[in-house]
């Protein structure tokens, strides 16, 4: 039983990691209805900037994280301005292809020697690791930090979207661009803000990921990005709590599969469950079935 609980805890850590990325994914989708495939790569850029911040330039950790978040927020805004805004009223597929292009560009541009370089880098722990034994379970301070950060992000996002003017603008834009503009909402600014926040969260996730799994490289964003996207879809894409729920489920499925069935079947089973859920609930677990607008 203890052993099982420990595996659940492992799954929780993995799930929370996915949640860090999935939150930004789902928020951007919720407002712009665009699957921002470059999100995983912004996450990678964030991880690298954080690493450079605290391990190379010697900044204190909070400053390093803040630098990474601000830089990535800017990066997100630039990506939106350059690659998505011109295509906003083009068919959806055009923006999607553009997003894939941005994703590949970020990966290969980062691999260049004068940018981050193609190498794997070992990330030193910026603070000593602490183990706590609670009822036979070992919990690390990194797990606690990740848990607290995800919780804070979730609450902040909910407050932002439902309690602030910007949030109201976001919700309006999500419903209808043109109607929002007629109501005096600055659509472009609102979308820029959405991207800025989403990308800043991706950077935060990247730094924490690099601390928990201490190795970074320019292609590190692909797999976690895909898994987080899956998690967001599983929970109901565009719905903030759904992203966290989906991510936690993904984490548990993956961990329990490799712990009790076979480590080789892990991804196969995780994605098979995704397909099953989508077959029976196409809008995801928390998604409402929408009636098609005519």
């Amino acid at each position: 039983m203890e052993h099982f609980l420990e595996q659940v805890l492992n799954g929780l850590q993995l799930g929370l990691m996915y949640a860090l990325i999935a939150l930004g994914y789902t928020m951007v989708y919720g407002v712009v209805q665009l699957i921002n495939f470059a999100h995983g790569d912004v996450f990678m850029v964030g991880a690298f900037l954080g690493y450079f911040g605290f391990a190379v330039w010697g900044l204190p950790l909070p400053v390093a994280i803040l630098t990474a978040m601000v830089t990535c927020a800017l990066l997100g805004v630039i990506i939106e301005r350059v690659a998505y805004r011109p295509l906003r009223y083009a068919p959806k597929i055009a923006a999607l292809i553009s997003a894939i292009g941005v994703s590949l560009f970020l990966e290969y541009f980062s691999s260049l020697k004068f940018v981050f370089g193609p190498n794997y880098r070992v990330v030193p722990r910026p603070f000593p690791e602490v183990h706590w034994e609670i009822a036979g379970l070992s919990v690390t301070n990194i797990q606690v930090i990740v848990f607290v950060v995800v919780l804070l992000m979730l609450i902040l996002l909910q407050l932002l979207i439902y309690r602030t003017k910007t949030g109201m603008a976001m919700r309006t834009v999500a419903v209808d661009h043109n109607a929002a503009r007629l109501m005096g909402v600055n659509v472009d600014t609102t979308i820029s803000i959405t991207f800025a926040i989403g990308s800043a969260f991706a950077a935060l996730g990247g730094v924490l990921y690099a601390i928990a799994y201490p190795q970074i490289h320019p292609f590190m964003g692909i797999m976690p990005g895909l898994k987080a996207f899956t998690a967001a879809v599983l929970g109901g894409i565009g719905i903030i709590p759904g992203a966290v729920l989906g991510a936690l489920i993904m984490g548990q499925i993956e961990t329990l599969t490799s712990a009790y069935i076979s480590s080789q079947l892990r991804d196969a089973i995780a994605f098979a469950i995704l397909i099953l859920v989508l077959l029976f609930r196409p809008t995801g677990l928390l998604g409402r079935t929408e009636t098609e607008k005519v």
Partner: protein, 393 residues
């Protein structure tokens, strides 16, 4: 429609292969005439390809190997027999598809007669297949999978290597763990998509079980995995003496760290993939790995090589530099013996190599599978450095 498109693709295939054969013949004719005209102007040239991962996840391997290759050619004065050596280098990024692309370019466009490389089995298996089909000699310094020189029981006649093969490495590691370290139980973690780690893992398991040891767990992961907590929690519960990690330095560093986080106290043991300055030495402290050579080996050939390498590059040569240096020297020796730029004659000269001393072993000859006969070195990670422990036959 599908039938028709299939027909078309068959037709296209036929046309393409005819084109390939004719151009291939044309190319050969051309080099012959070139050779003849060059003979008049006294200087004969042979092009040698060099393939290594110069970027990507194992680029430190490639950089070292390139230094070994350069130094071997430089010491030979870019000459072997009557031939002037012209090197052509290519980067495979440790990607199997890219490896075939660059090998195709070297063979069909540059017209190389022999290739030194690549470094990992992942890329060298497809390269060696392609080169063997096109009758171009390949000698790899470090690709240890048996499949490099043998394809489904059939020897690739043009392919050789300067290193021992995976079975030897896994077997020696198991023997060393049982007999010298007196450890009895092991857990194994390996990459299910990589022939190198599969080969080491299987052979370690076989030899360890045969020697009276017990393998408590054997778990697979995928190349891009970063979270091993589930599997490691299971392993921690079984409390093995050994955690056998036959993967490359970046992956074992990551797994090693998480294993210690999970409270696994086992001794880490691995293969030559650990040999990198980018290995996380702090995490892997106390671990052992099998390797081709150690700079601390007191043999005079080794010490001379270390000195020359240090003089040129101001660092100690690792196994990748050394074995690629050895591979290049074996090839140069064969070209000299054959005194020909005909790959078939170079291949025969290589196969007939007898008692040729290289840095990683004395009096080397090749067995019938193109593998050299020589000992395995065991190294320990101690105080953030590699320490020579033993050389086992």
């Amino acid at each position: 429609m599908p039938v028709r498109s299939k027909l078309w693709s068959i037709l296209l295939g036929v046309v393409l292969s005819v084109a390939l054969v004719t151009t291939g013949c044309g190319g050969q004719g051309k080099t012959e005439t070139q050779g003849a005209s060059k003979e008049a102007s006294k200087e004969k040239v042979i092009k040698i390809g060099f393939i290594a991962p110069l970027t990507g996840d194992v680029k430190t391997f490639g950089e070292s190997a390139q230094k070994g290759f350069d130094l071997a050619l430089e010491q030979a004065g870019f000459k072997a027999g009557d031939y002037k050596i012209e090197p052509v280098k290519a980067d495979d990024r440790n990607d199997a598809t890219e490896a075939v692309n660059v090998a195709t370019k070297l063979v069909t466009q540059d017209g190389v007669k022999a290739i030194v490389g690549s470094l990992t089995s992942l890329t060298t298996i497809p390269i060696s297949k392609f080169a063997n089909d096109n009758k171009v000699v390949v000698i790899t310094g470090t690709a240890t999978s048996p499949k490099v020189t043998v394809d489904e029981g059939k020897r690739k006649e043009y392919v050789f290597r300067a290193c021992f093969i995976d079975p030897t490495q896994g077997t020696v590691a198991a023997k060393f763990a049982l007999e010298q370290l007196k450890l009895k139980t092991a857990a194994i973690l390996y990459d299910q998509g990589n022939d190198y780690t599969i080969g080491l893992a299987n052979n370690f398991k076989e030899a360890f079980t045969a020697g009276g040891g017990q393998v408590l767990a054997m778990e697979a992961y995928a190349k891009n995995d970063t979270d091993f907590s589930a599997v490691l929690t299971n392993i921690a519960k079984k409390n093995p003496d050994i955690l056998y990690l036959p993967d490359y330095y970046q992956k074992v560093s990551l797994i090693g760290k998480q294993a210690r986080d999970k409270g696994i106290k086992a001794v880490f043991i691995g293969g030559d993939g650990w040999d990198s300055s980018d290995l996380d030495y702090k995490t892997m402290e106390g671990g052992y790995f099998t390797n081709h050579y150690s700079a601390q080996d007191p043999r005079p050939e080794v010490q001379k090589w270390v000195e020359q390498y240090k003089a040129k590059y101001n660092q100690e040569p690792d196994a990748f530099a050394t074995l690629t240096y050895d591979a290049t020297n074996l090839l140069l020796n064969a070209i000299k013996t054959a005194n020909s730029d005909d790959p078939t004659r170079i291949k025969e000269a290589l196969q007939n190599t007898r008692d040729f001393s290289i840095v990683s072993g004395e009096k080397v000859s090749f067995d019938q599978d193109g593998n050299p006969i020589k000992p395995v070195t065991i190294l320990k990670i101690e105080g953030g450095k590699q320490k020579f422990v033993a050389a086992i036959k």
